[in-house]
Every structure is written in C-alpha cells, then in structure tokens.
C-alpha cells in the first residue's frame, strides 16, 4: 500500500528521478524544461476541457444541450475546434503593423504563462519560490495590457483600437481593487511569498484550517478579488473590450485562424492563473479545509478548487449581461475601491483585536469575528444606499433624429 504522502508527492518524486538521471551540468536545464512543459501541458489541457464545459454549462443554463456531436457527449469538440482554427487562413490587414501584429498574441500567451511560476499547485509543487511571489504575479499580469494594446494598435482598425482602449481603461481600473484586496492577505500573512501564504493557511485548529476566506475580511476580500479578477480577465459581464454588439470583437477583430485561437487560449489561461492566485490567497491553496480530509493529495485539492472557481466564472457569465462603460467605471471607483480599503481596515482591526479579545476571553473569537464583519457590512449597506439614491427607474422616452 502506497502511503498518502507518496501519492501526494508523486509528481515531485518523478521530477527528481528524471532530473537525477541526467548528467550533472544539464540538471538545472532539464529541471526547468520539465516544469515548464508540465505547466503548459496541464493548463492548455485544462483550457481545452474548459471550453467544452463552458459551452455545455452555458447551454444547460439556457435550457439547451450545448455541443454534443463530436465524440460521446461532445467531449472531442476542442479537438475539432483546434483543427478548424489551424486550417483557417491567417489574414493580416494590408495596412497593419506586421511585426507587432504578429508578436501580440505570442507576447500575450507568453506573459500569461509566466504568472504560473509562483502558483503553488500542490505541496512542494511551485515552479519558483519567490520571496515576492504576489508582487511578481501582479507585475507579470500587468504586462498583458501591453499585449492587448499591441494587438489593438497594430491592426489598424478603429474597432480594434477602441477595444484595446476599453481594455486598457478597464484593466488598469480593476487592477487597483485586485491588488488592494490581496494586500489584506499580505498584511495578515506578513509575507509576499505564495508558498508561505499557503503554508500559513494550511495550519489547523479544532480540525478547521486557517483559510483566509473563513474570516470576515477574507470573505469580503475574496468576493471583491473575484469581481476584480473577472474584470481583469475580460470575462462577462465585464467583456466590454470585445463587446460583439458594439465593436464587433474588440482588439482581436483582425486576427484569424490560430492567432485568434492564441488570444482565446491566453484569455482562459489568464482566468486560471488569477483563479489560482485567489485560491492561494484566500482558499488555502493546496490545503484541505478540515484536518480529517488531509489524506486527499494536495494537487487534487488545488485543481478541485480551480474547477469550482471556473464553474463560478461560467455561472456568472450565464447570468449577468454586459455592463455599460460608465457603469463599469463607476463600479470600479465608487464601489470596489472604497470596499477594498474598508477590507484592509478590517484586516488591520482583526490583527490588533487578536491579543486583546481572543487572548483573555474564551468567546473572544466570535466577538472578533462579529466586530470585523460589522466593520465591513455597515459601510457596504451605506455605500449601496448612497449609490442607489436618486436613481429611479422611469419609463424611457426616445428622441428620434429628424
């Protein structure tokens, strides 16, 4: 019988075994190649699975079947899609900036894959254990904006430029709540290393893990982080950069064939990466929520959580219609930003209440929880009321051009 620990560490063991068989000077290089290949294969495969699950899930939410023709229940649909996009003609506009037009999808995919370097997908399964992992993640994530603008600018098309400008405005606006909501976690953890953040959350007391999402500031921070992540990855309801009904397809309108598929791939890979960071920061990374389920391998926990969050993304996409540009900006600056600041304040309060309340009194934990929750919830109610004031639903009157 193989021990639970051996199953948990199976990929690490295989990696070490493979590297160990190589001659000494080659070992670092082989180690890098194996890890990079594993990340690309696993997450590109997950992308293929997600496309078909998304189409089927959205179909079910609209009471239809979704793709069910290729293979049993349509599971081979991604293969058909890949073959189709590979065989399509690659059209480049005559007046496009050819070099930049060619580079944009490559830069986007490359940059998006870089952010996986610091994601702990299992115990001892982090490509690079950087001390400033969270900072690295956001720095690399911000580079996607460059690729998006490269695509929009080089296409020499007004729609793609509009889409790119929308994308830049949106991504920069939502990067602030995204980073600020993770600042709360960094404050409490006292480190920027993703590995250490997960290890701190994996500790248990009374059989329950110390996940950040179990705290009031963690829960609110997680919700805000996921909203900002949805906007950051240009997914519905924040898919204005590609709004089909307004600007056709946004920044990748002039891309066809496999370059378009690369944009599509990058969008999903980015979604997985940012979900992975949400898991790392709030949902305890590879750790199990209760101590008696710790025998399940850590990588199963990570990918289970990842699939759950992906389902959440699909669910939201099937529910909420696209926002207007002014609604998008109002939401970012008037709601998301104040709420993330309040979450940071609540996290600070949590930190300072710990020795005061939890130390002397047995009921201290509950009191601390309620106080911190109130600090977030009361401003939320007031903010919501303030935003809705003066906004009446009226009968719309139309003025026609004469």
């Amino acid at each position: 019988m193989i021990s639970a620990n051996a199953v948990d560490q199976i990929f690490v063991t295989v990696d070490h075994w493979l590297v160990g068989r190589m001659p000494g000077p080659l070992q670092p290089l082989v180690s890098i190649v194996i890890i990079v290949a594993a990340i690309i294969v696993v997450f590109a495969g997950l992308f293929a699975l997600t496309t078909v699950f998304e189409r089927k899930g959205l179909g079910r939410m609209q009471n239809r079947y979704g793709p069910n023709r290729v293979g049993p229940c349509g599971v081979f649909q991604p293969i058909a899609d890949a073959l189709k996009s590979l065989t399509k003609e690659d059209i480049v506009p005559r007046r496009a900036d050819h070099l930049v037009h060619y580079l944009a999808p490559l830069v986007l995919v490359g940059v998006v894959f870089l952010s996986y370097a610091v994601l702990p997908v299992g115990r001892n399964m982090t490509a690079v254990n950087l001390d400033s992992g969270v900072l690295y993640f956001f720095a690399v994530g911000a580079a996607t904006e460059l690729a998006v603008f490269m695509a929009g600018w080089s296409s020499h098309n007004k729609y793609s430029l509009l889409g790119a400008m929308r994308a830049i405005a949106q991504m920069i606006s939502y990067e602030i709540p995204l980073i600020l909501s993770s600042v709360a976690v960094v404050m409490i953890a006292g480190t920027l290393s993703t590995v250490k953040i997960v290890e701190q959350q994996a500790r248990t007391s009374n059989a329950l893990a110390h996940w950040n999402v179990f705290t009031p500031w963690g829960l609110a921070g997680f919700i805000l982080f996921m909203i900002a992540a949805t906007a950051e990855t240009n997914r519905s309801p924040f898919d204005l950069p590609e709004g089909e009904s307004e600007i056709i397809a946004g920044y990748f309108i002039e891309y066809s064939g496999f370059k378009f598929a690369l944009f599509f791939l990058a969008e999903y890979i980015e979604m997985f990466a940012v979900s992975g960071l949400a898991i790392t920061l709030f949902l305890g990374g590879w750790s199990s929520p209760v101590s008696f389920l710790a025998w399940i391998p850590s990588w199963i926990w990570f990918f289970g959580k990842l699939l759950t969050l992906i389902f959440g993304f699909i669910w939201v996409r099937g529910t909420v219609p696209r926002l207007r540009m002014d609604q998008l900006m109002n939401f970012a600056w008037k709601f998301m930003l104040p709420m993330t600041l309040i979450v940071i304040f609540s996290a600070g309060l949590w930190h300072f209440l710990t020795p005061v309340v939890v130390g002397p009194k047995p009921m201290g934990g509950v009191i601390r929880w309620l106080v911190c929750a109130l600090v977030i919830f009361a401003p939320y109610i007031l903010l919501a009321r303030g935003l809705e004031r003066g906004r009446k639903i009226e009968k719309r009157t139309y003025r026609f051009a004469e």
């Binding site: 899930g57 239809r64 529910t319 919501a384």
Partner: protein, 211 residues
Amino acid sequence: MLGEGIIQGLVETARNFFGSYVEKDRLTTVQYPEERLPLPEASRVFPFLLYDGTDPEAGLRCVACQICEKECPPRCIRIEKSKDKKPDFVGKQQAYPAVFDIDVSVCMSCQICVEVCPFDAIRMDKEFELSTTDRFGGLLWTKKELAKPNEYYQKIHPMEAAETDERRVKELADARAKAAEAAAKAKAAQTAANPAANGASAPAPEKVTSQ
C-alpha cells in the same frame, strides 16, 4: 440592497442548470437527424409530377399543355411536347411530355405551377434534404426524378390528395356517363337513320385505366 438582483439571477440560472438534467421537458431542442418533428400538412418545397398505377411512363398525368412552363415566374420548368399521343385516364388521346425538367436551383417554391395545372399532374413535395455534390446536374431534375406515384401524394398531403382523388373519380364517372350517353344517342340516331342495319354496333368506349 446592492447585489440582490444578481443573487436572484444566479439562483435562476442554477435552477435551469440542474433542472435541465432532471426535467426532460425543459430541453425543447429537437435533435434533428435522429429526431424529427412531423411536417405540417401545407408544407412545401419543390414540385413533383404525379403518375397513376405502377408505370411512371404510361401513368404520368401531365399532358404537356405547357401552362406551368408559361406561368412559372422564375422560368425553371422546361417541357418538350411529344409527337405521338397516348390515352389519358378518361380515355382521351393526349400528348405527353417527352422532356420535363425543373431546375430546383432556380425554383422559388411559389406553387403557381400547382395552382394552374388543370390535370392535377404537378404537386408540391415535402422532401427537403436535397443536398448534392453536383450543383449543376444534381439540381436539374428530369422527368424520371420528378415522377412519383399517387400513393406518395396521398401519404404526404392526405387531405389535399383525398380532395383531388374525389374530384378525379367524379370526372371519370362524368366522362363515362357522357360517353355512354353519346354512344346511346349515336345508336339511337343510327337506328333512326338506318333501322335495317340494327346489328351494326356503335364503337365501344375505350377501356379506362385509372388508379
């Protein structure tokens, strides 16, 4: 409260998501090649030619009057009249189409050919899966491909076919009665004119082949 509507929406989509696996009547999509909805009685695609009996050549109702050819708005029908004649269902000598072509890539399914045909020879078909790899020859239908038996017509348009058949039975009976009357009259005239030649018989009406 802010966000309440989104929660309601999420509940609704979740209900759809799980409900579609439980309640079959939520999924209204008909899985087309395997499942089909019955076509309505009045549905129509392209015209076809009707024939009586078993032989499409002998039983073809068309008499090559060329009314449909002239009336066809997009001019997709081409008819060549035969030199010889053959008896129709009431026994009258009629021409028949030596060539009857319909170019279905031109046909607009207006049914005017059906409306104008005085011989109930052309009707609209319901067959719609007509894709072909040859877009020229494959879409030019000749007499052979167009001819279909009356039983087929009764199957695809039962009400219309019953009405047509009833009318044709009546027409046949009228024609027979008229022929009998004419024969009786001719006989009477003959007997009146030449009572001596009583034994000479009038020409019997030709044997009718119908249905």
